[in-house]
């Protein structure tokens, strides 16, 4: 064997060269910098008032709810009151704006920090707020932009042309004006227009079957998914005024006629149209768009991977049976009502 010693050197050098890229891996293994579990137990997902509740906890536990101007927050920034507030708030110096009951932020305020309203609160036109919590009735004048979240404990009235980016909620009523854009809204009662009827006055509707209505029978189902639960492979139309008992999954489009009554849930892979005055007692789901025509009602959630349109007086959920509308896009017409929540992953808008 010739050149063994020299070969040992070459071999060692080659091995070292190959090992060089392994140094970061070996270091991470011996001295872990990123070996903890992911933070899988999230508290905020699905709780649309989480930020508002956390903020209230912060304000009340820190005693900032009735602070005088100049009080310092834990991070060193100051609390500002309406009296000391300028039109544009500097978030580096100010960490919180506290407004007494009945106060109003002037028009065109620019407030990149949270606002706490101890009672009723009015936000002036064309203002931009990072977030606001109001313990009473909160009124957003036209053209107000909310960047993160807003909560009106008793009610939230949103002026025309406002933008609700993030979460908007109330434990009472949310009334949306015209041309309001939104992402996620939660309240026992959400309507487009002025809140003239308190939700408590609306009772749960009875949906007794009317024997006089003709029953709709499926001509052909591709599969029986379960008892009273069918899969249909093609487009389907349920004629006006019919009653259908059971749940339906339609691989094409589904059109539910005027004044029909579906005692179950429906899903369409393409478009789902719920005719004027029709009622679905369960869920309305669709991979495509869903249209609720005038006065149509869905008592369960409305789930779409496209656009959900609620026409005039269309309604989702019931006062004591809240339901979510969840879609890529949501369009609400005047008089549309939702008892529960709205969630538009791309954009939501009031129309008309």
């Amino acid at each position: 064997m010739t050149g063994a010693l020299a070969f040992a050197g070459v071999l060692a050098g080659t091995a070292a060269w190959i090992s060089l890229p392994l140094i970061p891996a070996i270091r991470e293994l011996l001295n872990p910098r990123d070996a903890g579990p992911l933070d899988a137990v999230g508290q905020d997902s699905g709780d649309l008032t989480f930020f508002a509740d956390s903020f209230r906890q912060f304000v009340t536990s820190g005693g900032f709810a009735s602070s005088a101007a100049g009080t310092a927050l834990p991070d060193g920034r100051e609390v500002m009151t309406l009296a000391t507030m300028s039109a544009t708030v500097d978030s580096k110096r100010t960490g919180l704006v506290v407004v007494d009951n009945g106060g109003a932020l002037p028009a065109q305020s620019n407030c990149p920090v949270e606002v706490y309203g101890a009672g009723d609160l009015m936000i002036g036109e064309q203002s931009t707020l990072r977030a606001a919590l109001c313990e009473g009735a909160l009124t957003l004048s036209p053209q107000v932009a909310i960047l993160r979240w807003v909560h009106g404990e008793r009610s939230l009235a949103v002026g025309d042309g406002s933008q609700l980016l993030g979460r908007a909620s109330s434990r009472g009523v949310v009334a949306l004006g015209r041309g309001v854009s939104f992402d996620r809204v939660l309240a026992p009662y959400i309507l487009v227009g002025e809140a003239s009827v308190a939700p408590s006055t609306l009772s749960r509707e009875a949906w007794e079957l009317q024997d006089s209505r003709p029953q709709f029978a499926l001509a052909r189902a591709s599969a029986v998914l379960a008892s009273q639960h069918w899969l249909v492979d093609e487009n389907l139309v349920i004629p006006d005024g019919h009653v259908f008992r059971g749940s339906l999954v339609v691989r094409g489009s589904l059109r539910i006629g005027k004044d029909c009554e579906i005692r179950g849930s429906v899903k369409a892979h393409k478009t789902l149209t719920v005719g004027a005055g029709a009622v679905i007692t369960g869920t309305a789901a669709g991979r495509g768009d869903i249209m609720l025509q005038e006065g149509a009602r869905v008592y369960g959630p409305v789930i779409s991977e496209g656009l959900v349109t609620l026409s005039e007086r269309a309604r989702v959920g019931l006062p004591n049976m809240p339901a979510s509308v969840s879609a890529e896009r949501i369009a609400l017409h005047q008089g549309a009502e939702v008892f529960g929540s709205l969630s538009a992953r791309i954009e939501g808008m009031t129309v008309g």
Binding site: L231, A285, S326
Partner: protein
């Protein structure tokens, strides 16, 4: 003759690997750039269905309290939730613990205690589920620790009348325990964050993993319930639901901790059990899936077939290696020069590289950076998995009908007094696989 066979075998292996490589790559690109499909995660209000949460347990005294405490702390409507720990012949004090919880929470914790009947997770679940009438059956392994909102998140998709089963994301808890746990953490990230979510995005076949998820009772009944002779009752039910017209969905946002195996022996045993069970499903349903009587979209059929084949791939890989060795010794030169040399000698690693890409992408999406550095050690993991799975996939039990399915336990690393060095007991299908 031998040369011809070896050549054909090699190129079949290269073709199979190429298909799976393309699949990994496509899924990763889809997860990175595609439309993110999570249609149910924002459903926060509705007439919530009644839910029964089943927790199969066999000698789980080390971990069962954590699991029950977490389930009792969830925000699911109290009047619509019942927790059913299923004790199957435990010889430790699991049963006493369950009875203690039942005494404290008689309306919400209703243990199902088994002293006889067919053993195995599927048999235990089948027996317990027949006694409950909840709309939705969720299943958690006894070592899983659900967060407070998880049950609502997992129940929400069932508002969709097409959804028959739901799967959430499994997140390893004991990441830093050993090299293996670090590798499994990466693998799980790739499997869920990328693979499962891409399937969901593309409308393919997300896999129900037997835990951190559940099934609709009416769907389960319609397809005949759990197969008690199945080693992978989760994969089995996925395919039966699919072929009955139901949809299986994955919720990336619905995360739950699990313990992953900390030693290679346990890991090998686990993955071999998965392989055998998965191959049984392949045997049982491949033909029917391809015939497609329910007229599933072609993309679902193709994905379903590829998913069924994942545990056969290591066999194909080893066949490819044998063919390559035979061709090497016979002196047959590849026809396309250097390109063919590359393909022949490195087809498995290049094939695997798409998996590295997937894993690295998943970890970055998770916000993890430094942990990706241990990526090269995954080659060792692949080597072990390849041989372990190949052995399982070539065994008779992979392809023959099972008569007796016993509890096949994955070791636990927590102990009831907080000391993690216990010998570990554990129950059945410690899943989290997402191929």
């Amino acid at each position: 003759m031998i040369i011809t066979l070896a050549t054909i075998g090699l190129w079949i292996a290269v073709a199979v690997l190429a298909v799976y490589t393309a699949r990994h790559y496509f899924f990763t690109l889809n997860r990175l750039f595609g439309r993110h499909r999570q249609p149910y995660v924002d459903i926060v209000a509705g007439e919530w269905p009644t839910v029964a949460v089943f927790v199969p347990a066999h000698n789980e005294s080390a971990v069962i309290r954590d699991s029950l405490d977490s389930l009792l702390a969830t925000d699911y409507p109290r009047d619509r939730l019942v927790i059913v720990p299923v004790d199957d012949r435990s010889s430790d004090d699991t049963r006493e613990i369950l009875l203690d919880y039942a005494a404290r929470e008689p309306y919400r914790v209703r243990p199902h205690l088994r002293d006889g009947g067919q053993p195995g997770k599927a048999a235990a679940l089948r027996e317990a589920m027949e006694l409950h009438q909840a709309d939705i059956f969720l299943v958690f392994d006894a070592d899983y620790i659900p967060g407070p909102r998880l049950l609502r998140q997992l129940a929400a998709p069932f508002f969709d009348p097409e959804v028959g089963a739901v799967m959430g994301r499994v997140v390893p808890l004991n990441v830093g325990s050993s090299l293996l746990t670090r590798l499994l953490d990466l693998e799980r990230a790739g499997g869920y964050q990328v693979d499962q979510q891409a399937r969901m995005n593309l409308g393919l076949v997300p896999q129900y993993g037997g835990t951190v998820g559940g099934v609709r009772r009416s769907a389960l009944r319609q397809v005949g319930g759990w197969r008690v002779d199945s080693l992978a009752e989760d994969t089995d039910i996925t395919y039966r639901l699919l072929m009955a017209g139901w949809e299986v969905v994955y919720q990336n946002r619905s995360e739950c901790y699990e313990e992953v195996p900390e030693t290679w022996d346990v890991r090998i045993k686990q993955i071999q059990r998965w392989a055998r069970g998965h191959n049984q499903v392949l045997r049982n349903y491949l033909g029917r899936l391809v015939r497609n009587p329910i007229r599933l979209p072609q993309r679902q059929v193709i994905d379903g077939v590829l998913l069924l084949g994942v545990f056969v791939v290591p066999l194909v890989l080893i066949m490819g290696w044998i063919c390559a060795i035979v061709l090497f010794f016979t002196g047959v030169r590849p026809q396309w020069g250097p390109m063919a040399v590359l393909a022949v000698s490195s087809f498995n690693t290049v094939g695997n590289f798409a998996a590295f890409f997937q894993v690295a992408a998943a970890s970055r999406l998770d916000g993890s950076r430094e942990r990706i550095r241990v990526l090269p050690f995954m080659l060792l993991g692949f080597l072990v998995s390849t041989f372990a799975v190949a052995r399982a996939s070539s065994s008779r039990s992979s392809w023959m009908q099972q008569k007796d399915v016993a509890w096949d336990k994955t070791t636990r690393y927590r102990t009831a007094n907080g000391n993690g060095n216990g010998n570990g007991h554990g129950n059945g299908n410690g899943h989290g696989k997402a191929s």
